[in-house]
Structures are given as C-alpha cells and as structure tokens.
C-alpha cells in the first residue's frame, strides 16, 4: 500500500517534470534558433545548433534525475507517514475484534460444556432441552469464529501450510457427509483423483464441508464432489442438481450473510471464498452448460 501510494506520487511528479523539461527544451531551442538565424543554413551553424541542444538535453536530464530521486524518497516518507494512522487503526480494530470474539466465546464455552455435562444424568425430556442449549451455544461460538476469520484479510500467514493431497480431503469429507446425504435421500458421488497443494488441511476440509453443506441444502437427487489437477492448478468441485443460483444473486454470492435462505447462517460460502483466497486461489461459481443446479469450483495453486 505504501509502495502503491509512493508510485502514484512519483508518477504524477514525473509527468509534471517531463512536461516542464520538454517545454524548457523547446523554449531554449527556439531561442537558439532565433539567435543563430542567419547562420543556421550553413553546416557549421547546423552542427553548432545540434551540439548546443545536446548539451541542453544533458543538462536538463542531469537536473531531472536527482530531483526525481529526491522526490521519490520524499514521496515514500510522505506515504508512510500519511498511511501509518490508517494501519494503526486497522490493527487496533483487528485486535478489538479478536478480543471481543474471545470474550464472547468464553461464556458460550461454559454454557455448551455445562449443558453437555448436565445431560448425562438428565431424563429424556430435559436431555432434549439441554441438547438444544448446547447446540445453540456451539453454533453461536462457531459463528463468532467465522466472523473473526472474515474480519481479517485472507493471506497465507493465517494458514498452517504443508503439502496436502486434495483427494484425502475430499474422501474424508465425503465420509462425514455420507450418512447425512443418505438420510436426506441424496446420492453423494465422489470422483477424487490426487492433486497436491501447499495448503492448510484443516482449512481445506472446512472449505469442502461448507460447499457440501450448501449442496446438501439445495440438491434434489445428486451431489457430485470432485477433485484433481492439471499442470498448474488443482481444483475441488462441488455440484448439486438443485434450483441453481438466481442470476441476481450471483454478484453478492460470496458476501457475508448473502445466501442465508434455506437454513444456514449465510457465512459458509464467504468462509469458503476466504479460505480459497488465503491459499492464493479462487472460489468461483461455474456456469454448467445447460446442467441444472449450482457448481462451485475452488482453484488452488498446485505444488510442482
């Protein structure tokens, strides 16, 4: 950001400087020509004129370069000084968000843990109530965690990266969802071929789970979960045969709380998008050629 602002300052100044320099060169050229006017037609006059103009050019450039360097340094310090309060404010905001999330999650952890412990000796009716309490606290805590994640810029520094085989991520997640898909009368079809990415396995599972959660809510009969890779990129694709994404919704699909229609709090796709970006990849909605339903594909840089 500092570099970009410096570059803008320098570019503006360089343009102005170039304008002034050309104008000066042109002006001096005119003066010389009017001074040399009678002799300008002779070869001596011509060469004298060109020699003089060359020296003028050298003088102008010699003056411009140090000025430009000085301005560049000045612009850098100016950019840094003017952006510092912004960076500091952003840092404070992030710290506040992290602290607030932590303070909110602690009581939720107490609620969830105590409710789960209390159900051990409870009668069935009370047990159902305690389950609701525990589940709600767990959901709220997960929501806070998601918001905290989304409050930060997606960058690799927030990941714990290692070589990960996407086919392992896909197979593990498919097993987790298999029973739920069957219970919902859906077929979960898995086509996993190996592709190794430099990724955070836990985060990649979260990405896959979020896409599967979304597919589970919308699919009519089948969900297809695929992964693989070509020479440069690895992909992970989740396709459902539901109603698909309305054209009006596509723009804000990955924004927070955008798709909270059929259950779900609307952060799943934003988080998936965040995770893909943090891996220097993308999450896109693929327009299937005539195929119904939605098809999400995460493209991630592949390890050589």
């Amino acid at each position: 950001m500092i570099a970009r602002l410096t570059a803008v300052y320098v570019a503006i100044f360089a343009a102005v400087l170039a304008g002034i320099s050309f104008y000066a060169y042109w002006l001096i050229g005119g003066q010389y020509r009017s001074l040399l006017a009678p002799a300008l037609d002779t070869p001596e006059g011509q060469s004298g004129y060109h020699g003089a103009m060359d020296r003028v050019l050298v003088t102008i450039v010699a003056a411009d370069v140090p000025v430009l360097i000085a301005v560049g340094l000045l612009a850098y310090f100016l950019a840094r000084a003017s952006l510092r309060p912004l960076f500091e404010a952003r840092e404070r905001e992030q710290q506040f968000a992290a602290d607030a999330a932590h303070e909110l999650r602690s009581p939720l952890a107490t609620i969830a843990t105590v409710a789960q412990a209390a159900r051990i000796e409870a009668d069935p009716a009370t047990r159902a109530h305690l389950d609701t309490i525990a589940q709600t606290a767990l959901d709220a805590s997960a929501l806070i965690g998601d918001l905290l994640t989304l409050a930060r810029e997606p960058r690799p520094g927030l990941l714990q990266r290692e070589p990960v085989d996407l086919s392992h991520v896909v197979t593990t997640c498919a097993r987790e969802f298999d029973a739920r898909a069957q219970a919902a009368g859906l077929e979960l079809r898995v086509l996993a071929s190996g592709a190794i990415v430099d990724g955070d396995e836990r985060r990649l599972r979260e990405l896959t789970r979020n896409l599967l959660e979304n597919a589970l809510r919308h699919a009519k009969r089948t969900i297809v979960l695929e992964c693989g890779g070509d020479a440069n990129a690895a992909y992970l694709r989740v396709r459902d045969d539901g109603a698909g994404i309305a054209p009006g919704l596509r723009q804000q699909l990955f924004q927070r709380f955008a798709g909270g229609d059929a259950g779900g709090h609307g952060l799943g796709l934003s988080i998936a998008h965040w995770i893909a970006n943090a891996h220097d990849g993308q999450l896109e909605l693929e327009s299937g050629a005539g195929a119904p339903g939605a098809c999400f594909v995460a493209k991630l840089p592949r390890l050589p």
Binding site: V114, D165, A195
Partner: protein, 222 residues
C-alpha cells in the same frame, strides 16, 4: 485410568470432570497452573487435560516444564482460540493433541481415549537410528548433531521411520500410520514428503538415510 484436569474456570472444570467420571475415569482437578504442574510431577496419570490460559503458569509452560523433567504423560491441550499460532505453539511445547473450546463431549472423550491408547505402551520421547535422533518431547530432530527444520507432518513421518528403522513400509501403510488415512488416493503425497525429508537430511550430510525399496515403499536405514 487416572486423568489430571487443569482448568481454572470452575463451571467448566466441574462439567469436564462429570463427563470424564461418567466414562469411569478417576479425575483430579487443579485450578491453577502452579498446582497443576505440581500434581503432574508428583502423581502418576494416564493422561492430562490442560487449559492454555491459567493463573500462575500457562498450559504451554506446564507442558514444557513437565517434558523437561522427563514426564511424558500424554497431554490434551484445551484452547479457547482457534489461532494457528496457538496450535503450533501448543504442539511445539510438547502437547500431544489440542481441542478448541467449546467442544462436543464425544470429541473430548474420543481425543482422551486416543491419548490413552497411545500411552498404553510407554515409549521414550527420543528415537535414535544411526546418526539420526528424533525427540518428540522437545520436538527436535537432529542428524549428526545438526538440527533439521521440519514441518509437523515431516516430523511425524521421520519419527515413525526412525522408530521403525530398517523396516520397509508401503505407501499405504505410511498413510495409515502417519496420516491416519485408511485409503490411498492416487497422489504421490508420501513421495513428496519423503523427497522433502531426503533433501533436508542431505543438507545435514545424510545420504541414503531413507531408502527406496522397490516394489514395497520406503525404509530408514540405521
């Protein structure tokens, strides 16, 4: 089975104790870091469940100091934050596993049982194979005295191979034992990790430490 629980939040401490006692574990509770470390040093436990944020001493300190005193009780770390730094920090300090609060009861029990299974056969924290030493206590690996900079999975793979030196393992076996996967997939993830380890070993002067056994897989020669 006897478990030590170090947790300063009383409602949570009582709740976790109730969960563990319902599974017939004997549970001791310490509510601050100093008392917790003291319990861990003096008594014998099959596993410990340790919160990170504690008065007196943090959970990281407790594990580090216990490991320094050669106490290898398996430790499950409870952390309130889902931060990468916390995970790495906890495992680096010598914790065996971590669980993020709030957790689901079944998850806690599953993790504790996994620790107890691991603790069944007491193993030394240091595995030695030839010039290679892998210390799971301090999470350090050295070849010929030179420290190797390893990622989490690289470390686990090297530790496994060092503990089972001169035995050849297939890729599927390594995936099952080191990665906990019971399916092979079609990638060469094991080869990727082996070649990374070989590169790092070579830098430390170790050639042909991990051998390719044709038709089988890999073995570490000591």
């Amino acid at each position: 089975m006897r478990i030590l629980l170090i947790e300063d939040n009383l409602p949570i401490a009582n709740a976790v104790r109730a969960m563990l006692e319902a599974r017939k574990f004997a549970v001791d509770v310490a509510t601050d870091g100093v008392a917790g470390l003291d319990f861990l040093m003096r008594e014998t436990y099959d596993a410990a469940v340790v919160d990170v944020v504690l008065p007196g001493k943090t959970g990281f300190d407790i594990v580090r100091e216990a490991r320094a005193e050669s106490i290898h009780t398996p430790v499950l770390m409870l952390t309130a934050r889902d931060a990468v730094e916390d995970r790495v920090h906890g495992l680096d300090a010598g914790a065996d596993d971590y669980l993020i609060k709030p957790f689901v009861e079944e998850e806690l029990i599953a993790r504790v049982n996994a620790l107890l299974r691991r603790g069944d056969k007491p193993i030394s924290s240091v595995a030695t194979a030839g010039k290679l030493t892998v210390d799971t206590g301090s999470r350090e690996a050295r070849y010929d005295g030179l420290a190797l900079e390893l990622g989490t999975t690289e470390f686990r793979l090297l530790e496994f191979l060092a503990r089972n030196a001169n035995i050849a393992f297939s890729r599927a076996q390594l995936l099952a034992r080191v990665w906990d996967y019971d399916f092979e997939g079609s990638s060469n993830i094991v080869d990727v990790y082996v070649s990374q380890l070989r590169r790092k070993l070579r830098v430390a002067g170790g050639r042909d430490v991990i051998e390719t056994v044709w038709g089988v897989g890999y073995k570490l020669t000591a």
